[in-house]
């Protein structure tokens, strides 16, 4: 039987009168690529923010490898192994690429402020190790040689990849990607798709994906859930979703659905 990485039961988040996420049940198997799609304002990013601990859900349960995430702080959740990227890239803009990745490793390092002042041998070993790991990740995402560049000065595509490298530095078991191909041309999009597949195949990370580009979604997802107005209206394999009238209706309106 396959392990469930992330499971939500009746997850509900309300903003005033608006039900942003309404009783959503999801179950994501380990090492799968799972996409959440839906029209703008469907509650996808709110769902991410609930999982990563930035929003406290009003009702429902979130289980990560059978441990509840509800009530935990974002940094605790990150430490448990959930890393994320952002729809609009959010790097530490004035720090170098390497420093960005080193920050991702923060919770794996144990040096206290006191040890840092004394610069104990343990601290030096740890820093050398962390720097080596950061260089390895930099090369893994194809940014070798750009480590000393300030993040803000990197080209767009490189910033996207650096954000992934930073997330990988946490050694996550699950990666939440929020529109990773936004603003990319078709070639860059293809590269990103292959890269996401590599993450899953080589690093065995469970991938949860929010994406608008249907070629990406249909091309790499193994399972898809569709949200509309905070409600899960369908789920299934890409093939099942493509034929689902409710989904077509949500995206294109009722007339289009009946025409299909």
């Amino acid at each position: 039987m396959e392990t469930i990485a992330l499971e939500t039961r009746g997850l509900t988040k309300r903003f005033g009168g608006l039900l942003a996420v309404n009783a959503v049940d999801l179950s994501i198997s380990e090492k799968s690529i799972f996409s959440v799609i839906g029209p703008n304002g469907a509650g996808k990013t709110t769902f991410y923010n609930c999982v990563t601990g930035f929003y406290a859900p009003e009702a429902g349960e979130i289980l990560f490898f059978n441990k509840s995430l509800v009530g935990r702080s974002p940094d605790q959740i990150a430490e448990m192994g959930i890393a994320r990227t952002y729809q609009n890239i959010r790097l530490f803009a004035n720090m170098t690429a390497l420093e960005n990745i080193l920050i991702g490793q923060h919770h794996l390092l144990k040096t206290s402020w006191f040890e840092a002042i004394l610069q104990t041998p343990r601290m030096r070993r740890e820093e050398t190790g962390a720097l080596g790991e950061a260089m390895r990740l930099l090369r893994f995402v194809g940014l070798g040689g750009l480590g000393d560049q300030v993040a803000r000065n990197l080209p767009y595509g490189a910033q996207r990849r650096l954000e992934v490298a930073r997330a990988l530095a946490l050694k996550p078991r699950m990666l939440l990607l929020d529109e990773p191909t936004a603003g990319m041309n078709p070639i860059e999009t293809m590269e990103m798709m292959r890269f996401i597949q590599r993450l899953r195949d080589e690093l065995e990370i469970t991938i949860l994906l929010i994406e608008h580009d249907m070629r990406v979604v249909m091309g790499i997802s193994e399972y898809i859930a569709v949200l509309d107005y905070g409600v899960k209206i369908a789920e299934g394999t890409p093939r099942e979703i493509q034929g689902n009238t409710q989904v077509i209706e949500a995206y294109l309106g009722r007339a289009a659905a009946s025409a299909a």
């Binding site: 940094d75 530490f92 170098t96 040096t111 402020w113 300030v150």
Partner: protein, 527 residues
């Protein structure tokens, strides 16, 4: 209307208003004196048969005129540069400046002749100042003179802008500078310095030796000033951790300075508690109490961000200041009168109380604090602080416990201020509520910003600028603060990132070099 004419009109009006303002506040007299000091008063007398003060004033006004012309001749983004256009802009700027300045001469000259005492309204506009501005001429001829004078200097400003600022001269100059610097950097002395460790060490040792000798020769006044600058460096380094690294805008920073100062005062002074403890014991206690206060303030307010945090910390600073001044605590803190006869450091029975001794003590403290800051900044903790400054939300998502790191920043920043306060109160042998007013917070914050947020050389440079520059500017007397404020504004406009901004550490390149070196060495051992 052409771009150049519009530019000239603007520049003329702006410079005209500035000139009127400077005349009305009597700055013309000071400017003339200053230029006199600069050139040496004797040299100028007899030039063109003018009195020295008039000659110096004309130099000052000429520079203003040239500046206005250059400003009126600014390059247009759309129209092509040409002599005719540039000179039309510059000439118009000079002409308008001349008309405004001449009009003023006409006005205040006639008022003077009519016997109106203008100094009733403008304290510095004394009859002598007006006579100086009239250049010893009648109001009407002074007015005509100014129109011609500024028109010509404006035209010269246009020539200057066109030829020097954006013409071929500038290019030639920058090429010349570049080749010279290259020549110096590649010179054998510098190369030797870079390559040979022993020579580097000797040069550094000599430099440090010279720095250490400075306090012995500059006398008590400058030692005292240097000590004040040093204390501001301590405060700046502390606030640099809070504001510069962790990005928490703390306007009540003076509170921790006060806690350090009052700790040493209450522990060592004969009144109000007569504890008479040693200064050396007061140091760690002051540091710890300040750090604890930092944590206590931090716990409730660190959920706030940005402006809200600034307002609450501002309030905290005020609360401490008011408490120190209040009668309620008079038995404990000495109230508004403060605490006198604060103990100083002793060393095996010898008292170390001179400004000179304190300079060395402060230097030691600064070196220690810089050391701690460098170590922290290059560690996991420092990276976490910077991440919080850059984007707190993302920092949390990356597994950083922002709450504890912010508290740590507050505590360490406060500890540095506490250390500064202990030394400050002990050096003055007195401490009172007035030493810890809000201006201290603002000055320290300004020194961090002026120097360059997050940068250690920046803090040192900023403290020298903020506490040292006013001393140097004493020459200007009444206009000291005015000139100082203007300098700060200009500095922030010219270098918004600060005087000495941080440069990011180059880690990848260094690592590659080290890899290469280690591969090259057969032993592979570390030095």
């Amino acid at each position: 209307m052409s771009h150049y004419l519009r530019n000239g009109l603007n520049a003329g009006i702006v410079f005209g208003i500035v000139t009127i303002f400077l005349v009305l506040i009597g700055f013309t007299v000071t400017a003339s004196d200053l230029i006199g000091t600069f050139l040496g008063n004797a040299s100028a007398s007899g030039v063109l048969g003018l009195p020295a003060v008039t000659f110096h004033l004309l130099i000052f006004l000429f520079l203003l005129g040239v500046w206005s012309g250059a400003s009126g001749a600014r390059k247009s983004p759309t129209e092509a540069d040409s002599w005719r256009r540039v000179l039309s802009g510059a000439g118009l700027a000079g002409l308008i400046l001349g008309i405004l300045a001449g009009g003023l001469a006409m006005l205040i000259g006639s008022l003077l002749l009519a016997g109106v005492r203008m100094s009733t309204y403008f304290a510095q506009l004394l009859p002598d100042a007006v006579r100086l501005y009239l250049l010893g001429l009648s109001p009407a001829s002074a007015a005509i003179f100014y129109v011609i004078f500024f028109f010509i200097s404006g035209l010269l400003g246009g020539v200057f802008a066109y030829r020097v600022l954006r013409g071929s001269w500038r290019k030639k100059f920058s090429i010349w500078i570049n080749t010279k610097t290259q020549w110096i950097l590649n010179g054998s002395g510098i190369q030797l310095f870079k390559r040979t460790k022993s020579i580097r060490l000797i040069v550094y040792a000599l430099a440090i030796g010279i720095v250490l000798l400075i306090p012995l020769v500059i006398g008590d006044y400058w030692n005292y000033t240097l000590g004040t600058v040093g204390i501001y460096v301590l405060l700046g380094l502390g606030l640099n951790i809070v504001v510069g690294l962790a990005g928490l805008l703390d306007l009540g920073y003076v509170a921790f300075f006060a806690i350090g100062g009052y700790t040493v005062a209450l522990l060592t002074a004969p009144a109000p508690h007569h504890l008479l403890w040693s200064f050396w014991i007061a140091i760690p206690i002051g540091i710890i109490l300040a750090a604890v206060a930092g944590v206590l303030l931090g716990v409730p307010v660190l959920r706030l961000r940005g402006d809200y945090l600034a307002i609450v910390t501002l309030g905290f600073g005020q609360i401490i200041a008011i408490m120190l001044r209040s009668d309620a605590l008079i038995a404990f803190t000495g109230g508004p009168k403060g605490v006198s006869a604060v103990g100083g450091p002793t060393f095996f029975g010898r008292s170390l109380g001179t400004p000179e001794d304190f300079v060395y003590l402060i230097l030691l403290a600064v070196v220690l604090v810089i050391f701690v800051t460098i170590r922290l900044r290059s560690s996991r903790v420092g990276r976490a602080w910077e991440a919080i400054r850059e984007d707190e939300t993302v920092a949390r998502a990356m597994g950083i416990n922002t709450w504890s790191h912010k508290l740590l920043a507050f505590a360490i920043g406060a500890a540095f201020a506490g250390l500064g306060g202990v030394i400050f109160a002990s050096r003055n042998q007195f401490t009172g509520p007035e030493d810890y007013n809000l201006m201290v917070s603002f000055n320290v914050l300004a020194s961090v910003i002026v120097g360059g947020m997050g940068s250690i050389p920046g803090v040192v440079g900023g403290a020298f600028t903020l506490k040292g520059l006013p001393e140097v500017l004493r020459e200007l007397e009444n206009y000291r603060i005015l000139a100082f404020g203007a300098l700060l504004v200009v500095m922030m406009l010219v270098r918004p990132e600060g005087l000495l901004p941080t440069s990011r550490r180059k880690m990848e390149i260094k690592e590659l070099h080290e890899d290469a070196n280690e591969a090259g060495e057969t032993s592979g051992g570390k030095t």
